[in-house]
């Protein structure tokens, strides 16, 4: 027992200071892509390099668009572009409450709208999340899981994961929704009491990601459920997920 208490003292304070301060991320971290239509010459190389058809740039420079919902942040487009029209920034704040908000291009505003007042009064300081892994590779689950550890300590915001969907307020979906998981996902949704939310985390859950178009998958959660929040990434950094949740709950400073 004393050992445990000693260890507790030595391990020290480790909770990420977010959202009060921005976290320190790896210098090689690939965050929000920056598009520079001015530099684009519509050569289409980026489109050819993209494994998920997230980017389209073959018509005109001004039509350079990147769908964050499909992007797996592999950086192939950045390498393919000789003009430097695409670069990955260090911005981890990514996510939108509208699917269209994820298509970066002209005049797009990627925005996480807070919940309406009534929902906010309920969920603002108390929200239970039921996570359903619907056919992905397990990486998003791992990064969702990590939020509950003391490194991020989700519960200080009154957010937690629920064992039973009956106790849950939000359904967090990861994975492209495999055909085999579709029914289970629906059943989980039906098992939750109203009012309730759906959060799609990761490229797979938003659009099918790398698996998009494969016959065994359903290309994302909105094929099955009404999604309230999209958090892009493959997998999204835990901080991006936390940012999305807090944005939705209007808890960001």
């Amino acid at each position: 027992m004393m050992r445990a208490l000693n260890a507790r003292l030595r391990q020290g304070y480790r909770t990420n200071p977010f959202p009060a301060e921005d976290p320190v991320l790896s210098p090689r971290y690939a965050g929000l892509p920056q598009l520079d239509p001015g530099a684009c010459n519509a050569c289409g190389e980026c489109e050819k390099a993209c494994p998920t058809q997230a980017i389209s740039a073959h018509t005109a420079p001004s039509e350079l668009k990147l769908d964050l919902g499909r992007c797996i942040f592999c950086g192939e487009c950045e390498k393919a572009c000789d003009q430097g029209a695409i670069s990955f920034s260090k911005t981890f704040r990514m996510g939108a409450t509208e699917r269209e908000g994820l298509v970066l291009g002209k005049n797009t505003e990627m925005r996480i709208k807070r919940l309406n007042d009534e929902m906010l009064r309920c969920f603002g300081h108390a929200m239970k999340i039921r996570v359903v892994s619907a056919g992905g590779c397990g990486a998003c689950e791992a990064d969702v899981n990590v939020l509950e550890t003391i490194g991020f300590d989700l519960s200080r915001f009154g957010i937690g994961y629920a064992a039973s969907p009956r106790h849950a307020d939000a359904l967090l979906v990861t994975g492209p929704v495999s055909g085999n998981m579709e029914l289970a996902l629906k059943k989980t949704w039906e098992a939750m009491p109203d009012p309730k939310l759906v959060i799609a985390v990761g490229a797979c859950a938003i659009s099918g990601g790398i698996y998009r178009g494969m016959p065994e998958v359903r290309d994302g959660a909105d094929s099955t459920l009404p999604v309230n929040l999209y958090i892009p990434g493959c997998p999204p950094h835990p901080i991006s997920i936390l940012n999305g949740l807090l944005g939705l709950l209007n808890r960001l400073p």
């Binding site: 309920c122 937690g160 064992a163």
Partner: protein, 320 residues
């Protein structure tokens, strides 16, 4: 003592009694937050670094009250009765519970029996309700609860026996006021043993480590949590509030037993109760932080030890 039967406490104004009841309602959640986070699924306070709100339990309850309900196709009226019975039992128990020298709302000879049996009735209805859902997990929860109750119930009554019956008092309030005027050597050992017994029970009855793991997400290892997997919305709020009250009940009960050792006035006793409750919460956290959960079939021995402590406390009365 002309009659061993006694109805209503002698001391304390009505105001005090209501105040102590209201106090239970308002404070039970605030003690639960630091002990187990705002939800029994969070880690104990020792391992969290950011403090969470003291009022988190109430925020959760507020939210749950605003949620809808999903009933299973399998359930009958009994399932809908269970949350009500749980909360009603906890409310009655807190109304009876003396607080810092203030007597409860009511008190009579053998009142503790009624409280123990009301908790039992709530447990019974909850077990039935969980079996009503036709789910193996809930059956598992009910089964484990039923088995552990076999050890917990005698321990609870023997604990009360040690504090109330063996010293020749008629009720807990009476026992406290009598103990106020006895010496440390008369009462100290008995109080300590009974307090240990009740503390073990508090861990067991409130799903704490080493009996149950409040942080577990795993249906197969749950006890109490497994029984309420299918409850939602206001029903869940009632159950959560009832368990907050139950945790508070056990902590205050232990405080009630320990406090008479210090012959102090009313205000000091009230402050002392809060202090002891806080210390017990911290102690719960430390126990949770320093040992693993018992293998499920070892739990009866652990709860049985509570009965053993109470048993010794009663026998000591005969020797001393």
């Amino acid at each position: 003592m002309c009659s061993p039967f006694w109805w209503r406490s002698s001391g304390g104004s009505d105001y005090e009694r209501y105040a102590s009841f209201l106090n239970s309602l308002c404070d039970c959640g605030t003690i639960r937050s630091p002990v187990c986070g705002h939800h029994p699924k969070d880690e104990g306070f020792l391992f969290r670094e950011e403090r969470i709100s003291l009022f988190q339990t109430y925020r959760d309850l507020f939210k749950l009250l605003h949620k809808g309900i999903v009933y299973s196709k399998s359930v009958s009226w009994l399932f809908k009765l269970a949350p009500l019975a749980s909360l009603a039992a906890s409310l009655i128990a807190c109304a009876w519970l003396p607080f810092g020298g203030m007597t409860g709302l009511f008190s009579f000879t053998g009142g503790f029996l009624l409280i123990a049996y009301l908790f039992g009735a709530a447990r019974f209805v909850t077990m039935l309700a969980s079996l009503d859902t036709a789910s193996a997990f809930e059956g598992m929860g009910a089964n484990r609860e039923a088995l552990f109750a076999v050890f917990a119930e005698p321990a609870l009554l023997l604990g009360f026996g040690a504090v109330i019956v063996a010293p020749g008092n008629s009720s807990l309030a009476n026992a406290i006021s009598v103990a106020q005027n006895t010496t440390f050597s008369d009462y100290g050992v008995v109080a300590a043993l009974a307090a240990v017994s009740f503390f073990i029970l508090a861990l067991a009855e409130n799903s704490r480590i080493p009996v149950d793991d409040p942080t577990t997400h795993l249906e197969l290892t749950m006890i109490h949590e497994a029984m309420i997997l299918d409850n939602s919305g206001p029903d869940l709020a009632f159950i959560e509030f009832a368990s907050s009250l139950k945790l508070w009940f056990f902590y205050v009960l232990i405080a009630d037993i320990i406090l008479p050792l210090f012959h102090v006035g009313l205000v000091a006793r009230i402050c002392g109760t809060f202090l002891i409750v806080f210390v017990l919460a911290a102690l719960t956290g430390i126990v949770e932080s320093s040992m693993a959960r018992l293998r499920l079939m070892k739990v009866p021995q652990f709860i049985g030890s509570a009965a053993a402590f109470a048993f010794i406390a009663i026998l000591l009365k005969g020797i001393l």
